[in-house]
């Protein structure tokens, strides 16, 4: 019996190491549950809606809960990203159209430093609110791995549509009217 103790311990240690490796790799994998749910026509709740993020270039914080009742077009961007530059005028134009209808674009800078983000906002004449996700925890909960990505959130705080790459005005025109017509 005693001769099995040492090999047993070694096997247990190897199994524990393997489990740790599997756990670590699983934590790194991208969550696609939102994409799957939206593709099936469901509207999953926004993750981390109450997480308050610092407002770019100003004091204070803002969370999605603060915007409950509004249609929110959540746009994840970074100043160094060319597709983000290309879509910024489209989003700014949309903001002018939708803000009268209790809706807003909300920019979230990710993987970017604040001075570059502020310069981007000035250069692109962005008037919609922009918050910073320094840790990346907020956008990662949306399954975000890069920029730009856009999520359209209905008045009840649920994700109704998403785009994992550069958007265009046609996509916004197809997505927004129905949601703007909905009541909270």
């Amino acid at each position: 019996m005693r001769r099995f103790v040492l090999p047993g311990l070694v096997v247990c240690a190897a199994a524990a190491l393997l489990a740790l490796l599997v756990f670590g790799v699983a934590r790194q994998s991208t969550d696609t549950s939102i994409d799957v749910a939206v593709a099936k026509g469901r509207r999953p709740a926004t993750p981390d809606a109450s997480m308050a993020l610092p407002i770019l270039g100003a004091a204070g914080k803002e969370s999605l809960t603060d915007l409950r009742g509004k249609v929110v077009v959540l746009n994840v961007f970074a100043s160094w990203c060319d597709p983000c530059k290309a879509e910024a005028p489209v989003l700014e134009q949309a903001q002018r159209q939708i803000q009268r209808r209790n809706a807003t674009i909300l920019g979230v800078t990710y993987l970017d430093n604040s001075s570059d983000s502020e310069q981007f906002v000035r250069q692109q004449h962005i008037t919609y609110p922009v918050v910073r996700d320094v840790s990346g925890n907020f956008v990662r909960a949306f399954g975000t791995t890069g920029v730009p990505e856009t999520f359209v959130i209905d008045r009840r705080g649920r994700i109704a549509a998403l785009r994992r790459y550069q958007l265009n005005s046609q996509w916004l025109q197809q997505t927004l009217p129905k949601l703007l017509a909905e009541r909270s």
């Binding site: 670590g24 970074a78 160094w80 320094v134 840790s135």
Partner: protein, 163 residues
């Protein structure tokens, strides 16, 4: 009693001391807090969008990160201050070495723990193996079967031929 220096000599000595102090001060300050270099920092931080060391990364985000570091170096910040500023802008993920808490602790605990466990295992098993080897060496080998006369002759012939 010391004689006071004549006025021009004293003035010259004072000017020389001031110039020497002015020349040495930056060098001494530099020795106290070494100036940060982009190469040094690049090796210790990560490109947060491509998840590889900044020194190797060539993405637009890496270029932006480098420009930010260059700006801080130009401002005269130390390496520690620059790393702190990078964490404030990009989060902890920007550091090459993860902070020692949560799941990241395994990075710091596991390797030394494995080394200690390995050494303990060797310390436990090696004396056992050596004892077993010594005991085996002390035990005389059992004598083989006796050779018959024909085999003994053939063995002698072979030994003579090849010996």
């Amino acid at each position: 009693m010391r004689r006071p220096l004549p006025f021009p000599t004293a003035a010259l000595a004072t000017v020389a001391a001031v110039i020497a102090a002015a020349l040495l001060a930056p060098a001494l300050a530099g020795a106290a807090t070494p100036r940060a270099s982009l190469t040094d920092i690049e090796n210790d931080v990560i490109c947060v969008s491509c998840h590889e060391p900044l020194a190797l990364a060539q993405s637009p985000q890496a270029e932006s990160e480098r420009a930010f570091i260059r700006m801080l170096i130009a401002q005269g910040q130390t390496k520690a201050q620059i790393e702190q500023a990078l964490v404030a802008q990009y989060g902890l993920a920007v550091l090459g070495r993860p902070p020692a808490h949560g799941f990241n602790l395994t990075v710091y605990i596991l390797p030394p723990a494995l080394v200690i466990a390995g050494l303990a295992l060797l310390a436990f098993t090696l004396p056992k193996w050596r004892r077993r080897a010594r005991a085996a060496a002390a035990t005389p080998l059992p004598a083989g079967p006796r050779l018959d006369a024909a085999d003994a002759r053939r063995l002698d012939d072979d030994l003579r031929r090849h010996g």
